[in-house]
Amino acid sequence: MAVTNWVDHLSAKEVAGAVYPGVGTEGVLVLIAFVIWIGWHVISAKQESDKLSKLAKRRPGSNAWKNNVTDG
């Protein structure tokens, strides 16, 4: 339950400690966090894999990077 009045909240017989929005929905939030965490690995792994394959196919020489140095 959202807190709408701190005076009422703090003067209650038993002060509820949890004051964040959506108390009681923690399980759903944890589930969402798991999905975000695993999803991040899946998406970023694919991005990295594509990027590495693309560069590997181009086969730049070991000193080619020096041509890309900018002086700012």
Partner: protein, 466 residues
């Protein structure tokens, strides 16, 4: 908080740990600078990004399960009963220090007016987790994929170091009870464990291209920016100070805690609830740093990379007993740790063709291992825990600190929870073809395309007339 003294004590403790967290953030800043300074130009951005991304990965998983592991696993499970509930099962009951309160959907894992401490304590441990993962990060630069490193960072940062902390860095840990394990400032639980883990990964990952000649002779791929390495290490020293403070309980009355009738004894304690002083550990921190620097300068013949790294190795080696050592003992132990770390680094490099790019296994792993063994001799007979004074579940007390127990403890840290898991996970990732970047990319440089794009941008800007 209904009385002023209770409120002051709570807020002081909350603020104390909060400050340590901020200080420890500098460890990570230092590691990032250090790694970029040690890597070659064509890999800089990837190196930095890899170490940066461990922050969210370890933090999220620490929230989801890492913190819970620390509170659930002190008994093993199955190795020694808890002093709280006399059961050897995972600690998930209703007791005050149970993992039950630290599941991610607990009301205490959030803004809670009834709990001012858990979050900062959670964060202090989390910063240790980042450090554990960052130790591995340095060793594997310039050839590991970000995906593989992310998995390995989570494994060491949110699982294996957490288990070892529960076993050997918790007042109810089975290693204290059965082995007399004592590791006040984490020679083993952070450094030996992460160093061993890094070695396991390196054994599978292999060396950087060109590190060894065709005859197997190692070649030096020195740091490209020694000044960045230097500043990075100074920041790590600074953050390490915050770490020392974070390992203490700043104010505690040991009289009632030890069951001493009518006795009041306020003091700072270490994580095992045995007394120490911030004054003493400050001297020991600086003297072991000094011992490390002195030894590193001589053994490295003035080489700046080894000298600065040795300052860190000196602290790490003395850390297990820096709550009780005399400062000169700390200095000497720091020096011994540096000699062992330096010699072992080059021996392992030649013998097993291990390419530890920043000397992480040496500075953290070997120095940490040596520190545990030395602590077993120097503090032989001291109580391993504040609860050694009371009877355990079967009428015995916690084992006292002893050389054999500390040696076995070092093996548990370095090998059982470090090397073996690192090697196995790296093997699995290697089997999936996800561990190492393609050879062509390693030669070209991980930043090749970013640099190429920057050059094109620069060209466009330079040729613009308006």
């Amino acid at each position: 908080m209904t009385d002023q003294l209770g409120a002051l004590t709570t807020i002081f403790t909350e603020f104390y740990y909060w400050i340590t967290v901020v200080l420890m953030f500098l460890i990570h800043v230092g590691f990032c600078m250090y790694e970029v300074g040690a890597s070659r130009y064509k890999h800089h951005q990837h190196t930095l990004m890899k170490n940066t991304m461990l922050i969210p990965l370890v933090t999220v998983t620490w929230f989801l399960f890492g913190w819970w592991i620390y509170w659930a696993f002190p008994t093993g499970p199955g190795l020694a009963p808890s002093i709280m509930n006399e059961s050897a099962a995972l600690i998930t009951d209703e007791s005050a220090f149970s993992a039950k309160w630290y599941v991610p959907n607990s009301e205490l894992m959030a803004v809670n007016l009834g709990d001012h401490i858990s979050g900062v304590f959670w964060a202090a441990f989390l910063l240790f987790s980042w450090t554990a993962a960052s130790i591995v990060s340095g060793a594997v630069i310039e050839r590991i994929t970000t995906f593989a490193f992310g998995i390995l960072a989570i494994a060491i940062g949110s699982v294996f170091w957490t288990i070892d902390a529960a076993w050997g860095w918790h007042f109810d840990g089975w290693m204290l009870k059965l082995l007399g394990y004592h590791d006040a400032y984490a020679s083993g639980v952070i450094h030996a464990c992460a160093g061993g883990f890094a070695l396991g990964v390196l054994a599978v990952l292999g060396p950087r291209i060109g590190k060894f000649s065709s005859s197997g002779e190692p070649r030096n791929i020195g740091p490209r920016n020694p000044w960045l390495v230097t500043v990075g290490l100074f920041l790590i020293y600074t953050g390490f100070w915050g770490f020392y403070a974070a390992c203490n309980i700043p104010i505690f009355d040991l009289g009632p805690e030890y069951g001493m009738e009518g006795v009041t004894y306020w003091t700072a304690t270490n994580i095992y609830v045995t007394p120490t002083t911030l004054s003493g550990i400050t001297m020991n921190f600086l003297m072991s740093l000094s011992g490390g620097l002195l030894a590193g300068y001589v053994i490295g013949k003035g080489d700046p990379f080894w000298t600065y790294s040795s300052g860190l190795a000196g602290i790490i080696c003395a850390s297990a007993g820096n709550d009780l050592y005399h400062p000169i003992q700390s200095m000497i132990i720091g020096m011994i740790g540096v000699v062992i770390a330096y010699k072992m680094h080059y021996w392992v490099e030649r013998k097993f063709k291990i390419d530890d790019a920043v000397g992480a296994v040496a500075v953290h792993g070997y120095a940490g291992f040596a520190g545990l063994v030395i602590c077993g001799f120097v503090l032989n007979g001291y109580p391993s825990s504040g609860y050694s004074v009371g009877a355990m579940w079967d009428g015995t007390t916690y084992a006292a600190i002893n050389p054999l127990g500390m040696f076995i403890g070092a093996l548990v840290m370095f090998v059982v929870l470090g090397f073996i898991p690192g090697w196995i996970i790296a093997k699995v990732l290697h089997g999936m073809g996800k561990l190492r970047i393609p050879r062509e990319v390693e030669l070209a440089g991980l930043d090749y395309e970013i640099m190429e794009a920057a050059k094109e941008d620069e060209k466009a800007v330079a040729s613009s007339s308006s």
